[in-house]
Amino acid sequence: MERTLVEAVNDALHVGMERDPTVMVLGEDVGRAGGVFRATAGLLDRFGPERCVDTPLAEAGILGTAVGLAMAGWRPVCEMQYESFSYPCLDQLITHVGRYRWRTGGAMEFPIVVRMPTGGGVRAPELHEDSPEAYYVHTPGVKVAIPSTPGDAKGLLTAALRDPDPVVVLEPKVLYRSPRGEVPEGEHVVPLGRARIAREGSDVTLIAYGAMVPTCLAAADLVDESAEVVDIRTLKPLDEETILGSVARTGRAVVVQEAPRVAGFGAEIAALLAEKAILDLRGPVVRVTGYDVPFPYWSIEHEYLPSPERVAAAARRVLAF
């Protein structure tokens, strides 16, 4: 069935909570309002106030409480209302969510899911358009997924809801309401750790995730040569095989990330290629990224966001090398 990405997220939560009575959702405005993006719509009515909880306005409190809920046998799914408002919970994520199982010598599991909208392009006020994935991926003990299609949004979140480890799921908010895409009914799992070839090509590989995948697909149309697009889908664990396989075929790579360039996740991809694909590379690994500046005021956000043109230009540079 055709759904929007946010509808797919909502569907995954409905199906997941139906399937597993230990799954509960907590966050700011997830209940009465059904989430500011409606991602949790209908959960309060269907599963009751004990499994869909409007919390006080305190992100560290939400995630810290989730740690205790996990110890009590729950599978808490925490919504951070916007990615930029997840920063107050970084301390709990780094010091506890990613470490607690290790701290118990593996005796206990902390299957906590943290979901949040991410990214720009939505013409919103300051601090509603960040791309913080690097903070999460760098944190040991935590897995990170980020879908680019409604189907993957349902499948990856479903996988997260069944994963024994903590998983952060970043949902590109610019894709929340369009385009629609095919979303399988009922149970639908996209295993963590598997990238997807979003478009096949032979001359250059465009590697991206989240909202940069459609950007790369558009860029692929702009270059004369044949561009392959890899949608990473899971940043950790990373599907090195698919990425290396594609670059082995094309010999050229452009890595695209919306987040600020310096020490972003794109660098990890480039480092992977520099270490494991050095003999395949027929040109430099070029990154197309956001800049090392705060996400700009929305009237000029297009000047910041990697565009199909910028990606295409980078691809041409690599191809011409």
Binding site: D54, F85, P125
Partner: protein, 345 residues
């Protein structure tokens, strides 16, 4: 450590209801000042109502409505000395207007245009803070730091009922008390945090009770009574300037408008209650007060409203006349001395 200062349980009120409850005494405001206060409320009300129209017309983006909170903002800001600093949240986005900031600056902020940037020192108004409660320690640091320099500067931080749940509110309030910073913590308790009612935010009987845990005075005031807000703030500032430290002021209001233009409250609010709150909204209450005192009549009201409307017309025109920002501004200002690679992306 200080002695316990029990929170003031009942609401401070000055404006009567025109019937049983008589108007109270107001200190520190002569008649011109009372009218000036009215002008400020009208300016804010006009800014808010026009912004909603502009939003519907697609001329400003998402906008956080403050309809009904004008008494809290104008009343408290009017008690400040010129050198005192204001730390607004998104809910007080237009409070700079009370310090002479042109409307086009604030409108530009909501238009996502860099012309919405301003120099905080020019108006002693800090930048609009979007992440809840994170500006509370900023106001504390500014006030404390100024005192360390021997300046008699106070600051006021505006935040909501939901903000009191954030850890950074707690840390800032505690720093204020321990450092005896001359700051006013003004909580606009409009009883909602988007869809979350006060009852799901706290078990405290009143938010002013939180002051007890910091060893600072906590007072409650009717946030719909501009004179009461003025008085409570003036008293807090007197204390601050006298070196007696911070005060937590709970201004009790009600959010009788959506959280923001993007919000649809029908899912969670009680229309009857909202209607009733709107009838008793703060600007009308103050107008009736001024009329009872013979300071305001139809003509003057229309004149003042027209003035404000004119400023907004000029403001939106000026905002829309702003040239599209130079793309280069993306790279400006993040660093004084930027890394050489800043343009790489």
């Amino acid at each position: 450590m200080g002695k316990v200062v029990p929170a003031e349980g009942d609401l401070l009120r000055i404006i009567g209801d025109g019937e049983q409850r008589p108007d109270g005494e107001v200190h520190g405001l002569d008649e011109p000042a009372l009218l000036e206060l009215y002008r400020k409320m009208v300016l804010l009300r006009t800014y808010d109502e026009r912004s909603l129209v502009y939003h519907r017309q697609g001329r400003v983006g998402t906008y956080a409505i403050f309809w009904g909170h004008e008494a809290v903002q104008a009343g408290s800001a009017s008690a400040l000395a010129d050198e005192d600093w204001i730390f607004p949240s998104y809910r007080e986005s237009a409070i700079g207007l009370l310090r002479g900031m042109p409307p086009e600056v604030v409108l530009s902020w909501w238009r996502g245009h860099p012309a919405g940037w301003w120099d905080p020192r020019e108006y002693r108004v800090a930048s609009i803070t979007v992440p809840i409660a994170t500006h509370v320690p900023h106001a504390v640091g500014l006030a404390w730091g100024s005192r360390l320099k021997g300046e008699s500067v106070c600051s006021i931080a505006y935040f909501g009922d939901g903000a009191t749940s954030e850890g950074v509110f707690h840390e800032g309030a505690n720093f204020a008390a321990v450092l005896q910073a001359p700051v006013v913590l003004l909580c606009n308790n409009n009883q909602w945090a988007i869809s979350t009612p006060l009852s799901a935010q706290t078990r405290a009987a009143t938010l002013a009770d939180k002051a007890v845990g910091y060893g600072m005075p906590g007072v409650r005031v009717d946030g719909g009574d501009v004179l009461a807000v003025f008085q409570a703030t003036a008293e807090a500032l007197r204390r601050a300037r006298a070196g007696e430290g911070p005060t937590f002021v709970e201004a009790l209001t009600y959010r009788s408008a959506p959280h923001a233009t993007a919000d649809d409250p029908s899912a969670y609010w009680d229309v009857g209650r909202v209607e009733q709150e709107r009838e008793n909204e703060c600007l009308g209450r103050y107008e009736r007060y001024l009329e009872r005192r013979g300071l305001l009549d139809e003509g003057l009201r229309e004149e003042i409203r027209a003035e404000a409307l004119e400023r907004m017309r000029e403001g939106i025109a000026a905002a829309e006349a702003m040239p599209a920002p130079d793309p280069d501004v993306v790279f400006a200002h993040a660093y004084v001395d930027p890394p050489p690679t800043i343009r790489e992306g």
